[in-house]
Every structure is written in structure tokens, then in C-alpha cells.
Amino acid sequence: MTRARRLRLRVFRVIVLVLGGAFFLIPIGAMFEFSTRGNGVGAPRTLVAWTTIVTYPDLLGAIRDSLGLAAITSVAMLVLLLPTMIWVRLRLPRLKRIIEFICLLPLTIPAIVLVVGLSPVYRWMAINLVDTIFLLSFAYVILVLPYAYRALDAGLSGIDVKTLSEAARSLGAGWGTVMFRIIAPNMSGALLNACLLSVALVLGEFTFANLLSYLNLQVEIFQLGLANAGTSIAVSVASLLFAFLLLMVLSFAGAARRARRMRRA
């Protein structure tokens, strides 16, 4: 590669990085700027909107509920999807296409249609079982299926599931052990990705919660926005930053684990 070409490539990279960064950072910066404006023209900058977050009682509850929903959804998704996908791969490969189709289906159905279909079920559950926001995780599991399926499928394709499970079984391992102690640890990256996508999706979910009349984080932000624009923007920025942070922590944790494994050997 000639020097001129390498230079051009570097310039190109910097431009892409700057443009991409600007695309993401300018709106967030603007939101931050807006959330720190004082009341009235020429008023000094203030963090009132931000401090309201902690003092606003409904908001903290909504944050807690959304985090809880994210956790429940991730776990339920894994419990449902991982054994199914492993089983299909090992025992019923003919069903792979069907499972894939079913998992991708939620992508093609608009949220509003799903809600219309689900609302009688939710009404029934609210009356006959227990009326809690965590019921939303049923719907959310469906919502995250396409993304989680893709992530897990990539992970499963990366390992020789058949040979590993046969080796483990011939050594005396039952199916549970095969799944949780042999397959899962070898696709931790994919598990992490699937969870990450689920968490991000649930934290940003508005339609389901709003139409089924549950107050999750996004619904609360929306309502807050009607009453107090500054705080609603502050919460939006905070939840974005929180999602970034979570993403970074999780992926760094994965990288650190891999590095430790290399070092230990």
C-alpha cells in the first residue's frame, strides 16, 4: 500500500468517525443542554431537572419496574429459547426452519396489532391472576425473540454442539448438565449479546406498556414530558447513558473474562 493511499484511508476513517459520532452525540448534547436550561430568558444554568429525577417518586418506581422487566425478560427468554434451540439442533433439525420462522414472526407484526391481540389476555390475567406490571414480560419475551434468536443462533453455530454434547453424555452427563455446563459456557458471548439486546429493547419499550396501561420507564418519561419538559429530557439522557454504560460494562466484562482465561493458561 502506498503512503498516499494509507493517508487517504486514515482521513476517510476519521471523517466517518466524526460524522458518526456527531450523528449520535449532537442530539444527546442538545438534550443535555436543554435539560440544564433555567426557567425564563437569560436564567442561569441549573441542574434542577436532574435533581428532580431522584425526588420524583413515580419516576424511581418506573425505573425500578423497567429494570425488573428487563431482567425477567432476559431470563425468561434464555430459559425458553436456549434449551429449545439446542434441542432442535441436536434432535429435530427438520424443525429448525419452523422455529426460525416463528421467532422472526414478531418482527413482521406491528406492535399495535400484537397489543390488540394480547389485550384480552392481559385483561383476563389482571382480573384472574395478579395485576402487576411484571406481566408485561410475557409480551416482551415475544418482542425480543427475533433479536435473541439471531444472537443465540450465531453462538450455537460457532461451536460443535453435536460432538460436545455427545462427548459429555458419553461421560455420564445428563441433558441439564450438557446445556448449562457444556454448551452455555462456550457461547457466553452470544448469551451476553442476546441479553443485551433484550435489556435495551425492554428499557426503550413504550407502545405495549402505554396501550396496556402500565407505567414503565418510557411511559413515565412521556407523561413527565407533558408536565415537566426539562426533567423528561434529563431522564431520557440518563436512560440513554445508562444503556451505553450497561453495554460497555457487559462487553468489557466478556473481554476481561476471555483475557483472564488466556493469561491463566
Partner: protein, 371 residues
């Protein structure tokens, strides 16, 4: 090629006594295609039997039925007198080494070896000790803390062997364990496997498509074709007394020379050779003759006749060489000591002689056609 360790059938060495394994009339088909057509085979305690055959002959299916990884349509698997046909793989007490690298990637070598013991609730101290012993047995003591990706292919398969043996299984199953390795490692590991197997004295089923491997390692070799055993016997018998044309051609190279059967022998280009099957009916046939049974003499210069030809190529194989002689209408391969073969460079006129060893004839349409 036939320098197999001369070990008597059913040898039990200083290890604990092996256990008899019986496959009784096993049948298995996949969506209408039958993979096994009633395979019956008994492995004597401590014996190593190699199942040899082309891909799709059912040898791997047979092994997977013994391991319990697949279910037979009919027939029984009896290990040590106990019918295990319906016992799941995890409860069968068989050790298995796979063709593909099968070490658990997230565990170190010793953790891999100890895994089966952990499943059997062996205490941590005993686990560590036993795993250490097993790694020592396969010569990898210094590699206990390595992960699979830090081991070479041969080392990985040795760890897999240690892992399979650590649980003190009743049977050892080896599913083409050497096929992914390069030639030099393959030969060394093959001898290593045999040594360990004799050391432990475990009854072993070895599946391979490599005839050299099968002949070198096994007490008995079973040649399989289309779901059944074509011939079962010690390596020397399989090689020198093949029961069918298929075995003769699959095990070792054969010259296919047209001839005529007459009263218990076959006449090939003027030479009269005894038959392995003396009761064969008279008529045209194809004689299958080993390259070692073909000799070459240099006095072909002036001679004429059916067994005179020209050397067209010589393949150097080390101690021996394989000389191709064009007899006009057919070519024959002769395997000679290299020192002898150098006397016949390409283009030399030579006279070919066929050693009067009993030969096998092929007669089915397809084989005659190909000849």
C-alpha cells in the same frame, strides 16, 4: 503394510480384565435407507476390533449404537452380559473418542479429563489424582493446565483418550480418532493408542476407513460393506486371504487381470494360479493379484509372450517401490524392494512373473466390466 503387532485374539494384559461386548443382529435405517443390515459381532474381553469400510458402510452407525447415541431399530447390544440396548448413553459406561476435536473448550486439559469423574461424584482430591494419572498415561503430564486451543491436534486427541479412559469404562470406542491428523502424528498416535489400550486391557472398537490403520492396530479387523460384515478376521488373514473381491480390493492394492477359471485354478495370461475359492465354476473371470505377488525379470529384451512388457513408471515408497508395467492391453503393478526396482528404469523391457499364491476372482458384471 502388514507389520501389525502380533497379538493373540483376546489378549488381556496387566491391566484389569476386559469385558465381552456383543452386538446381536443390529439393524438401523434412516428414512428408508438402511445403514445396518443385521450386524452381529462379538468382541472378546480386552480385544481391539477395527471396523473398516468405505464411508456409508454403517461402521459409524454400529459404534454409535454401542455408545447409545443412537437407537437401533432392532437387535441388542450386550456389554459384559448385560443387555444395554435401552440404557441411555450417559449410563452406559463407555468411553468414546471422536473424530472431530471434542474437548470442552472452556475447560483445561485436566478439567476435561476430570469431567466424567465429576459426573460420577468422585471427590475432588481423587479427581485430581486420577486425572493426573490419566494425563501421565498419555504422556501429557506437563499440559494439564492448557486449554484445547493451546494444544496440537494430536495432543487434543490424547487428552480425549485420557478423558474417555478416566471413567474406567467397560468399552472404549474410537471413532476415526486419527483422521484429522497429519500422517506422521497419525502413525505415532496410532501406536500410542494401541499401547494404552493394551496397558489398560480394555475391550475396544475402532472405526476407520484407513485400511493401513486398521491392519496395524487391531487384533481383528471387520471389513464392512453396505451395512453388513463382509469379513472378520485377524489382519494377516484379511490381507492375505480376503474372503470376497470387495475385501481384496478395499484392503491393499490389487491388479485386476482377466483370466479363465478351469478346474479349481485360474489361467491368467498363460500362468496357472491356484484359487482361494477352489469350487468356483469354470468360465471367464477377473483375477485379483497383489502387487507383491508380481515379480519382474530383466530378460524380457528378446522374449515375447503374454507376460512381457515395458516399464512405464516407478513410484518410490521408501524401502519398496511400485513399478508399473505395460503389458500391451493392460498394466500391472509390481511391488519390489527399491534396490531391485532401480534396475528397471522406465522404458526397460521386462518379463513379468506371477507368484503362484492363491488368488481371488471377481465375476460380477460390474467388476468384470471395469477390468
Amino acid at each position: 503394510m502388514v507389520d501389525s503387532p502380533s497379538v493373540a485374539v483376546g489378549t488381556v494384559s496387566r491391566g484389569r480384565a476386559g469385558i465381552e461386548v456383543r452386538l446381536e443382529d443390529l439393524r438401523r435405517s434412516y428414512v428408508g435407507v438402511s445403514a445396518l443390515n443385521g450386524l452381529s459381532l462379538t468382541l472378546a474381553p480386552g480385544e481391539l476390533v477395527a471396523l473398516l469400510g468405505p464411508s456409508g458402510c454403517g461402521k459409524t452407525t454400529a459404534m454409535r449404537l454401542v455408545a447409545g447415541l443412537e437407537v437401533a431399530d432392532s437387535g441388542r447390544v450386550v456389554i459384559g452380559g448385560k443387555d444395554v440396548t435401552n440404557v441411555p448413553a450417559s449410563k452406559r459406561d463407555v468411553g468414546m473418542v471422536f473424530q472431530a476435536y471434542s474437548l470442552f473448550p472452556h475447560m483445561t486439559a485436566w478439567q476435561n479429563v476430570a469431567f466424567g469423574l465429576q459426573m460420577r461424584k468422585v471427590s475432588a482430591i481423587q479427581r485430581r489424582q486420577r486425572a493426573g494419572e490419566m494425563l501421565e498415561l498419555v504422556g501429557l503430564s506437563g499440559f494439564a493446565d492448557r486449554f484445547a486451543h493451546q494444544l496440537s491436534g494430536g495432543q487434543q486427541q490424547r487428552v480425549a483418550l485420557a478423558r474417555a479412559l478416566a471413567i474406567q469404562p467397560k468399552v472404549l470406542l474410537l471413532d476415526e480418532p486419527l483422521s484429522a491428523l497429519d500422517a506422521k502424528v497419525r502413525a505415532r498416535l496410532r501406536d500410542e493408542i494401541r499401547r494404552v489400550q493394551l496397558d489398560v486391557g480394555i475391550t475396544t472398537l475402532f472405526v476407520t476407513h484407513d485400511q493401513e490403520e486398521a491392519l496395524a492396530i487391531a487384533d481383528r479387523v471387520g471389513v464392512m460393506r453396505a451395512g453388513h460384515l463382509e469379513q472378520l478376521g485377524p489382519p494377516t488373514t484379511i490381507y492375505s486371504r480376503p474372503a470376497t473381491p470387495f475385501v481384496a480390493e478395499f484392503v491393499g492394492l490389487s491388479n485386476r487381470l482377466p483370466g479363465v477359471v478351469r478346474r479349481g485354478s485360474v489361467e491368467v495370461r498363460g500362468a496357472l494360479l491356484p484359487l482361494v475359492q477352489p469350487d468356483a465354476a469354470d468360465g471367464p473371470a477377473v483375477a485379483l493379484i497383489r502387487p507383491e505377488a508380481v515379480t519382474i525379470a530383466s530378460d524380457g529384451q528378446a522374449a515375447t509372450g503374454l507376460l512381457v512388457g515395458t516399464v512405464i513408471a516407478t513410484a518410490f515408497l521408501g524401502a519398496t517401490s511400485r513399478v508399473t508395467v505395460d503389458l500391451g492391453d493392460v498394466t500391472v503393478l509390481a511391488q519390489l524392494a527399491t534396490s531391485e526396482a532401480t534396475a528397471y528404469p522406465a522404458g526397460t523391457r521386462v518379463r513379468v512373473a506371477l507368484r503362484p499364491d492363491p488368488v481371488l476372482i471377481a465375476r460380477d458384471e460390474a467388476t468384470v466390466e471395469r477390468a
